[in-house]
């Protein structure tokens, strides 16, 4: 091999060695601490979500450790790994957390594809609590040590659609939404509920992520003039754009947005175009129930702004892991921990959470909201089941 090539080969080998060395000697502080691994998108497109979750997790761990930790005084230690918002990243992150980070449980999760990839690694090997990702598929196969904090898409849709057919009572509906992993479920659920209530779905238009001009779609929908427009899009700026274009066309009698996606980041760029739009959510920081008050106040004191849903669900995830381990009296007998989780009822800022056999928690309350000059206001607080 020529001089330079040999150098490059050596360099490559060198990096391998360096890498392994780095991984092998990962710092182990507080040997007795219970290490919990968080695979979060700390870089890439979803980095902002990752930072929200990190804040929420830190807060939860801090409170628990103030209370003296778990399992007789053992502190919680959070270990972060960047999952970069891609399945490959997720797999690498989880494996690194398990083998190098030597964590006792895995949590995190914002993107369903990523969590699905991760769950294939954790399945049968470690406890995983998916805080944010919503796809039903994640818990569909029902892996025994996998739990879900946030409502799945279908749970959200069922709650919200009930309100549509019982209260809003449109005669005809037109649907439009991004062709995304969970909008498919949203659309299926919508079809079911409307069919059951004898409401006609005039058209369902899905567009891909690159779309930002909705004139043609809206022109078409406008021509069929429905009582209600149902929009499903989780992407703040694009949704804002979409609603502006709806306004420019004069709008529709009733307008709703798929539940769980309306955020300040969407309302601000919409510049008032979303006023009057109905939506639903599992939690309302501006109007929490009695259970949430304390959490909200303390959180506001500490960070002087309201917690988002991301902060909330990861907060609940960390608490669930900690108190379940504490109650089960073990940090590694996952069969036992999982059994405890399934049997117990777990207090949270949203009220007490219960997990079904698939490991899903159903939000204790579901909030119907309407956008009113740039902010969401509560229309109704529905108790689940």
């Amino acid at each position: 091999m020529s001089y330079i090539d040999r150098r490059m080969a050596l360099f490559a080998v060198g990096t391998v060695v360096a890498a392994t060395v780095v991984f092998a000697h990962a710092p182990v502080s507080a040997a007795d601490a219970v290490r919990i691994g968080l695979a979060l998108p700390l870089s890439g497109a979803a980095a902002t979500y990752g930072q929200d979750l990190q804040r929420g997790a830190e807060y939860a761990a801090e409170l628990i450790n103030q209370r003296g930790g778990i399992l007789g005084g053992r502190k919680l230690e959070l270990v972060y790994e960047d999952e970069k918002g891609t399945p490959q990243g997720g797999v690498a992150a989880v494996q690194k957390l398990m083998s190098v980070g030597r964590v006792k449980a895995i949590t995190g999760g914002t993107n369903s594809s990523v969590v699905l990839a991760e769950s294939s690694v954790t399945k049968g090997r470690i406890l995983q609590v998916n805080a944010g990702a919503q796809a039903d598929a994640i818990t569909e196969q029902g892996s025994p040590w996998l739990f879900q904090i946030n409502n799945t898409v279908s749970l959200n849709s069922e709650a919200f659609n009930a309100y549509i057919v019982k209260t809003l009572k449109p005669k005809t509906v037109a649907y439009m939404g991004e062709n995304s992993e969970f909008n498919k479920t949203v659309l299926e659920k919508l079809k079911e509920s409307l069919k059951a209530a004898g409401i006609e779905l005039l058209s369902a238009s899905t567009y891909d992520a690159e779309t930002n001009d909705f004139t043609s779609i809206l022109t078409k929908i406008k021509a069929s003039n429905p009582d209600m427009l149902y929009v499903a899009d989780a992407y703040p700026a694009r949704a804002a754009q979409l609603w502006k274009q709806v306004r420019q066309l004069g709008g529709f009698p009733t307008e709703v947005m798929s539940p769980g996606v309306v955020t300040p980041g969407m309302l601000k760029p919409a510049e008032g175009a979303m006023n009057g739009v109905y939506t639903g959510e599992i939690f309302m920081a501006t109007d929490p129930g009695s259970e949430g008050k304390e959490f909200i106040e303390n959180y506001q004191k500490k960070f002087n702004n309201l917690p988002g849903k991301g902060e909330l669900v990861i907060f609940e995830a960390i608490n669930l892991i900690a108190s379940a381990m504490d109650k089960a009296g073990t940090d590694s007998d996952y069969g036992k921990i999982s059994k405890v989780i399934r049997e117990g009822a777990w207090p949270s800022p949203r009220g007490s959470l219960r997990f079904d056999e698939k490991g899903r928690a159903r939000a204790p309350y579901f909030y119907i909201q309407r956008v009113d000059n740039g902010n969401v206001v509560q229309v109704e607080r529905m108790k689940s089941n």
Binding site: A46, T48, D208, E210, N212, S216, K220, K244, E271
Partner: protein, 291 residues
């Protein structure tokens, strides 16, 4: 009937926007002889320049021309520092890789500076719409349509009437011949490149209020640009305009009457058809494999 008319209007307005992007692309291909994969990045820069200026409280109508100037300057620097070296280097595909890498780097840079999330660009004519005989066009789109026509017209006149324009055409037709007849070909190429990317920047600034701006906004523009350019004929400016209108209308019709989700595939369907039955494009000359 009204739906059809409305759809056609939407398509034409859409196409006018595409035309500005595609003309820049085809100009660069025809004169400089490279497929500029960084075109989308310059489109995005136009958008972001406009955002920064309007965020400083500048009026949108002032911000647009300024954004174009900014993009033109960036383009000039790029040409001077990178393009001519990589283009006149001995590797024929160098320019392609370099522009591609430039585009990737620029997008990554935008993400790192402005974050991945889209940002709104307010337009003074924001919400208002114009209506005539039941057909409506939002004021911003009307503005885009007019601007495109003006710019393309001006470009056409420049090429026809000015001396530089004539030289550009000469280089496009036969670079060596132009060189023999004493035209400063590298200089002409530089001009063509700058004009081309400036056009992309203009398109970005014009569309920003409609689409909001985000780092990868250029990808869509680049894809549309290439489909239009191949359809119209690489290097042919009239071809680019024709292709833009065709694809604009085709997309609108397809979205309204067939399927929204498959629309992105439509352009490439047209391209494949073109390459099969008329490889030189609608108004282009035959391209032989030369290096």
């Amino acid at each position: 009937m009204e739906l059809l008319a409305q759809t056609l209007v939407n398509g034409l307005v859409l196409g006018a926007g595409y035309a500005v992007i595609a003309v820049g692309l085809t100009l660069i291909f025809g004169i400089v002889g490279i497929a500029n994969f960084a075109h989308g990045a310059f489109f995005a820069m136009g958008g972001y320049a406009c955002y920064l200026l309007t965020a400083r409280g500048l009026n949108y109508f002032v911000a647009v021309p300024l954004s174009v100037v900014i993009v033109a300057i960036i383009g000039a620097l790029t040409e001077w520092i990178v393009i001519r070296r990589s283009l006149y280097g001995d590797s024929h595909h160098g320019s392609l890789i370099v522009t591609f890498a430039l585009g990737q780097a620029a997008v990554a840079g935008l993400i790192l500076t402005f974050g991945p999330d889209p940002l709104p660009v307010p337009s003074p004519v924001g919400q208002s719409t114009l209506r005539f005989l039941g057909i409506f066009v939002t004021s911003q789109r009307a503005f885009i349509f007019v601007c495109s026509l003006l710019v393309l017209g001006a470009l056409g006149l420049w090429l026809r009437l000015s001396i530089k324009g004539q030289q550009v055409i000469a280089v496009a037709q036969n670079a060596r011949g132009a060189l023999y007849s004493g035209i400063d070909v590298p200089w002409i190429r530089a001009i063509a490149f700058v004009v081309g990317v400036a056009a992309a920047g203009l398109a970005g600034a014009l569309l920003a209020p409609i689409t909001t701006i985000y780092p990868t906004m250029g990808n869509g523009a680049l894809i549309v640009g290439f489909t239009v350019v191949i359809l119209g004929g690489m290097g042919s400016i009239p071809g680019a305009m024709l292709g833009a209108l065709l694809i604009g209308v085709a997309n609108a019709l397809f979205e309204t009457y067939v399927s929204v989700s498959w629309t992105p595939a439509l352009g490439w369907g047209l391209v494949i058809a073109t390459l099969l039955f008329r490889p030189q494009g609608l108004l282009g000359q035959v391209q032989q494999h030369r290096h």
